[in-house]
């Protein structure tokens, strides 16, 4: 029951994060980094929800891979978990940058500095969401449920 609550909270946080990526007034991405022209373009091109989806999927996917695919006693220490966290945390900004770059290129926009600044913030979001996902789904992992630290 307790674990289901954790899962429900994790899903709620993720959905809230995703919903906030749609928001104009309190957009989760713009809370961390804001450059009017750049962010307006992200907003108009509806890139926030896609990036939110990328981040959420990488966080949940990464956590799922760790807890249910890797799921090995050889990789059940906190630093193994931290390694997956680090990989996801690095991959998410790279994926988002590639996405932004591609969309901007099609739209004839060029915001290199802003894009780099922006995706740097995604590092933190990804790490946070990975932790949320980890604490949502780890309970049912046979080998890694006590990682990064015991229940």
């Amino acid at each position: 029951m307790k674990h289901s609550i954790f899962l429900a909270i994790g899903i709620a946080i993720t959905i809230a994060f995703y919903a906030l990526s749609y928001s104009t007034g309190a957009n989760v991405f713009e809370m961390l980094y804001f450059n009017q022209g750049f962010n307006d373009q992200l907003f108009n091109l509806q890139m926030y929800p896609v990036m939110a989806a990328i981040i959420a999927l990488m966080a949940w996917g990464g956590a799922a891979v760790y807890y249910y695919v890797i799921n090995s006693v050889k990789f059940d220490r906190w630093y193994h978990w931290a390694s997956v966290l680090a990989v996801c945390t690095l991959l998410a900004p790279i994926a988002c940058y590639a996405y932004i770059d591609n969309k901007f290129a099609h739209a004839g926009l060029l915001y290199i500095d802003e894009s780099i600044h922006f995706v740097t913030q995604i590092l933190f979001i990804e790490a946070l969401l990975f932790i949320v996902a980890s604490f949502s789904i780890r309970w049912w992992s046979s080998n890694c449920r006590h990682t990064p630290f015991p229940q």
Partner: protein, 504 residues
Amino acid sequence: MRLFVFAIGGTGSRVLKSLVMLSAAGVRPVDENGHPVKDLEIVPVIIDPHKSNEDLKRTEQLLTNYRLIRSKLYGNRTEADGFFANRIVTLHEIMNDSAVQLNDTFVFNLSAVEHNKFREFIGYDTMNEANQALTSLLFNDDQLENKMNIGFVGSPNIGSVALNEIKDSPEFRAFANVFNAGDRIFFISSIFGGTGAAGFPIMVKNIRQAANLDINNRDVLRRAPIGALTVLPYFNLELGEDHRIDKSDFIVKTQSALYYYKETLTGANDSNVNALYYLGDQQMSVPYVYDPGEHGQRNKAHMIELIGAMAPLNFAGLPTSRLCDDSGYPQQAQAFEYALDKDVPGVDFKALGIDTRHFIYDKMVKLHLLFIYLNTGFKTMIGQGYTNDKPEIRTDFLNSQFYRTLSVDFMNAYKEWLGEMYHNTRRVELFNIGEWDMGKAIHDVMTAKSIFGRKSVDNDVFKSEMNNLSRKSASNDNQVEFKFLDLFNRAASKIVAERFENIN
């Protein structure tokens, strides 16, 4: 059902040791349908006046450790499955007559005989001349001068006199008090020595003639199903000039005893012993050091003892209909023998018959894997995986009496037992001694094939399996001790079935 196992003499102690090992592995007697016998309590009683006998001391310590471990695992429950499944208790633990004073020990107190010389015990000096002359015909001077606290050193004629006093002991009264209908009695003794050869028929006689004694449950005792393991010569002694036990006497004594048994126990019209298990090996063991002194015999464990230990378990599983008639009276004696599947000098699981493999293979392998796991992997896993599930296994567990008894005392005894059997003749090589690789631990049994060669069996495999099982069964209701061994047992069952070649 209670199974009273009277282990008489040095051989009795050594067979009992193997029985404890099998019980620790989780080998349980099964009925004719293959189901474990319900509510079984084994009550071992060691009868040996030679209290300093090393074999006796080792067995007694082993029993004490077993009892401690089991009580931590299952409390007073009789029903259990897994390691240490059989409940083994002392007479003291089950007796309900507070009037009888007993030590809480597995060893029968033979205080009446153990401090005397035989001549003092029989009152030789107070006999008249005629009786003294008769006595001198029956017993030589060495035997009369024999101090009985080192046993009867191959002299059944002394033992038969001395052990007849058992019927008057508090232990025997306590035994009679707690013996109920449905309980069974089993004797383990050698036929070629002194204590066992003499004690077994005396004890049977006293039980069957309980009507003449001033004890409780006389009728029940008279009808009690009795089984016995009679071990024929199987070990050698080093040659020596002054040995009072001489291997050359073994065959003669055996022949004499067999005649006597035929006359008194297992004859055509006898039903004193219902099931008699004969066991011996023409291939003698490596010569043992003869030491009747203060340190006593310390013989290497032997395959015969391992096989012999299965006899009481087999007896416990026999249907009552094969032991008693419709009126509840014992049936005529049945004799049981045992043969290896292959007559080889090195006996591994494959050399044992298929029935024996079914009976002990999985469980022995699991115990051995536990032995390796405790020595190589468990400590490093504290704080990881399943150890973090409720109830948590923390580092203080390593300092608990249970863990120390199990991992040090008991497992050292196990290691010693295995090693002794391995270095004996016949050589018992169920496992590769000194091999810490779980996948290579069973002699001549490989791990199962997989796509990429052979499957591995190691601590990580166990950890993973135990993690998985623990997740499904984590509960605060369990004790740490039970959690650990139960998880390991279940994990090992799965691993043995899935990751080793099937030899059954």
